[in-house]
């Protein structure tokens, strides 16, 4: 027999599960709908009442990938831009975050504030300055131009995220290494980085996601050479008509790399997300 406590907790669990399921359904519905739409013909997409039983067609995927408005080369562009941005961000942000977390830099707080302050400007306010700067450098519609612009967002964000992870590592661990005559760099490499692996994984995901999903700068600063998939997808929303099924197919294809990376890093993310919560905010 269950006692009162068990019964109460069972009831609470049931309630929590229901709430979680409802929230999950709300979140998943658009995705499910997009999947269904991507498998229908254009005339079925708009049918009312919607047919839930239909013969799935894969033509939309073929059109999205190989058709008149193929997203194939744009996918490759997105991979190049997002991967390079992520790699450079991590390579630069890890030492920077370490410095902010550990070194007694002059004006550390001020520098930290300015790093964060760059995140306070609404991105749309930066479109024109960036356009003019890149134009002067002849970097409009180039990979280096797009990546440098993305770095200006991802670096401050990554540094601040990583600082909080690094501050959580007990100083004693590092002290032991330093006493054994390890250099700062060695300490960082052998002691700190293994400890913040989870944090780095989280940062990678967020930076990659942001670069992958970015649209505003991609459309204004890119062009024929650098046209990420977010921009290319718009080709299905033409002036004449919206090709819903092909748009849905393209969107799902474009989602795939992110989903794969997400699943691969899920373990690290969950770990990374809970670190701060369990240990508290460090000593900022």
């Amino acid at each position: 027999m269950m006692n009162i406590h068990q019964r109460a907790s069972a009831r609470r669990n049931a309630l929590l599960m229901t709430a979680a399921t409802v929230l999950l359904l709300i979140w998943v519905f658009p995705l499910l709908w997009a999947t269904v739409v991507s498998l229908k013909s254009e005339s079925e997409v708009l049918a009312y009442p919607p047919n839930l039983i239909f013969k799935p067609v894969f033509q939309n995927y073929q059109d999205a990938i190989f058709g008149d408005f193929s997203i194939l080369d744009s996918l490759l562009t997105s991979v190049i831009v997002a991967t390079t941005t992520t790699l450079l961000t991590i390579v630069l942000a890890v030492p920077a975050a370490y410095a902010f977390a550990r070194l007694k830099l002059p004006a550390r707080r001020t520098l930290g504030f300015y790093t964060l302050a760059t995140q306070m400007v609404p991105p749309v306010g930066l479109v024109i300055p960036y356009f003019l700067i890149l134009n002067k450098l002849q970097w409009l519609d180039t990979y280096q131009g797009m990546i440098v612009v993305y770095l200006t967002f991802s670096l401050p964000f990554a540094i601040w995220l990583l600082v909080s992870y690094m501050e959580d590592i007990p100083f004693e661990m590092e002290e032991a290494a330093l006493l054994d005559k390890a250099s700062r760099l060695q300490t960082m490499w052998y002691v700190i980085i293994p400890q913040v692996r989870g944090g780095i994984a989280v940062t990678v995901i967020f930076v990659f996601l942001n670069a992958w999903n970015e649209f505003l700068f991609a459309v204004q600063l890119g062009g024929n050479t650098v046209r990420p998939v977010t921009v290319a997808m718009y080709n299905f929303v033409s002036v004449e008509q919206t090709l819903w099924a092909k748009l849905a197919a393209a969107a799902l294809v474009a989602m795939l790399p992110v989903v794969i990376i997400g699943i691969a890093a899920q373990k690290q993310i969950v770990k990374g997300l809970t670190v701060g919560a369990v240990k508290g905010g460090g000593r900022r």
């Binding site: 062009g223 004449e240 008509q241």
Partner: protein
């Protein structure tokens, strides 16, 4: 339109054709190549036109050989067709011209950014006719009469600028001076369900009043058939695309001297008509409907009539998407109380960016002239080898060409007549208020129209507020 197999060829745009197969193979190969090489999509080398007919023009097509120019366009079937035949331009002129596709929502900002910062990124772009006043006021683009009247640059006996639809020429000129060469344009026409109208014993409306009574007669929302729909979505190119025609048909005038007037009795009559018509007979949510939504609903058979661009026939008569193929009739805009019918004069045209070098300008002019020429118009409409054929041919002579008309008449009853008569009789260059502040004015009007439609304000109050805002915009 009979559903026989011949008709399919017009529309099976997405079936895998030989061209697509070649492209697929090339796209695959391109993916393996370095990203830098992936500019533009690969084309099978081929001649789409007889280059000899261009040589007939008494100009030196190779005067800007070796130049590189980029032209911004939007992803639309008509520009896709143009891109397809562009290798011929490169062969003819030795100019490396390429099109860049920019989403329609962004092309205006991107063009303004480029023009205002004088970067010369886009030698030309598919321009919104309503933006010419802004461009010209700032001196961002070149007047084209210098090019048209220079016999080294233009052989008008061959190019025949005057053959381009007068409404479209008017829309791309400022104070009588041409600034853009129209490439693809439209007229707005009445599109209705012939079967539904026949069953109700009515024909297409001749007057706006009759348009409303027609809607009332067939309106049957219980059986999912609504009387009519017009663009309700807020935007300078959405509800402020359809309202101006009604405004003009009610006898409205945008200008009183230098002042823009939007709260006259005629303006109020037009807005009251629009609001009452849509509230009574349009599906719920029409305030969020743009042209694709309307065409989709009509194609699904839930809307009995709408008034929009003649090009939307290609969507509602496409058997892949539409359930009402063969049941569609067309007519001109209904007359308003002033006796006028006023169509849209919307078109995409090519200006010349003033920030270019002399030689680049010549290269751009050659491109504009080439794209607007009869030869290229033919090559991208009925003579186009692909399945999609353009409907927005820019030339009056093409709208008399039996081959073009044969293709157009497949859309349904009275299509060619309604469209050509609209082009000939129903255009008005001042269909919308043309002034440099158009983006802000258009947006203000769009907000007012929608506010009245959803009942946030009475039509009179909405127009009064719009008038005050516009007065401020024009003063500042």
């Amino acid at each position: 339109m009979p559903k026989n197999s011949n008709d399919r060829t017009l529309f099976d745009k997405f079936n895998v054709s030989r061209r697509t197969a070649v492209k697929t193979a090339l796209a695959g190969a391109a993916t393996l190549a370095a990203p830098g090489l992936m500019i533009g999509r690969a084309h099978a080398a081929g001649q789409y036109m007889d280059l000899g007919s261009f040589q007939g023009a008494g100009i030196d097509w190779r005067m800007a050989e070796g130049e590189e120019i980029t032209i911004a366009v939007i992803p639309a079937g008509y520009f896709k067709n143009l891109e397809e035949v562009m290798p011929d331009f490169r062969t003819l002129t030795g100019i490396n011209a390429r099109l860049e596709m920019i989403p329609p929502g962004q092309i205006r900002q991107k063009a303004v950014l480029d023009l205002s910062s004088k970067t010369g990124t886009y030698a030309s772009h598919a321009a919104d006719p309503m933006y010419y006043q802004l461009y010209v006021a700032n001196g961002w683009i070149d007047p084209l009469d210098d090019y048209l009247n220079n016999d080294k640059l233009t052989d008008n006996a061959w190019f025949d600028y005057e053959d381009i639809q007068p409404g479209h020429r008017g829309a791309t000129s400022v104070d009588g001076v041409p600034y853009g060469i129209p490439f693809d344009g439209e007229a707005t026409i009445q599109i209705y369900r012939k079967d539904v109208y026949d069953a109700a014993g009515i024909g297409p409306a001749d007057t706006l009043e009759q348009y409303a009574s027609n809607a009332a007669k067939v309106h049957d929302p219980d059986n999912r058939l609504w009387g009519c729909a017009l663009r309700g979505f807020r935007g300078a190119g959405q509800n402020m695309y359809i309202y101006p025609s009604i405004f003009k048909a009610y006898g409205g005038e945008w200008f009183d001297g230098d002042r823009v007037t939007v709260d006259t009795p005629e303006a109020l009559g037009a807005l009251e008509y629009y609001v009452s018509l849509l509230n009574k007979y349009a599906p719920a949510g029409v305030e969020n409907w743009n042209w694709p939504d309307i065409a989709d609903a009509f194609g699904q058979g839930t809307v009995a009539s709408y008034i929009d661009a003649h090009g939307s026939a290609a969507v509602v008569a496409n058997p892949e998407k539409s359930k009402v193929v063969g049941k569609i009739g067309f007519a001109r805009w209904p007359k308003g109380p002033s006796g006028k019918r006023v169509t849209s004069i919307w078109n995409w045209s090519f200006p010349i960016n003033g920030a270019l070098s002399e030689k680049q300008k010549h290269a751009t002019w050659l491109f504009n002239q080439w794209a607007g020429s009869r030869e290229v118009q033919v090559a991208t409409t009925y003579a186009f080898p692909g399945a999609y054929k353009r409907t927005g041919a820019n030339r009056a002579s093409l709208w008399k060409d039996p081959k073009f008309l044969e293709l157009m008449s497949q859309f349904g009853d009275n299509y060619v007549e309604a469209t050509t008569e609209s082009f000939a009789n129903d255009t008005d260059p001042d269909w919308r208020p043309r002034l440099p502040q158009w983006p802000a004015v258009g947006d203000t009007m769009a907000t007012a129209i929608q506010a009245a439609l959803v009942g946030q304000a009475t039509p009179a109050a909405a127009l009064k507020e719009a008038q005050e805002k516009i007065d401020k915009i024009l003063k500042g």
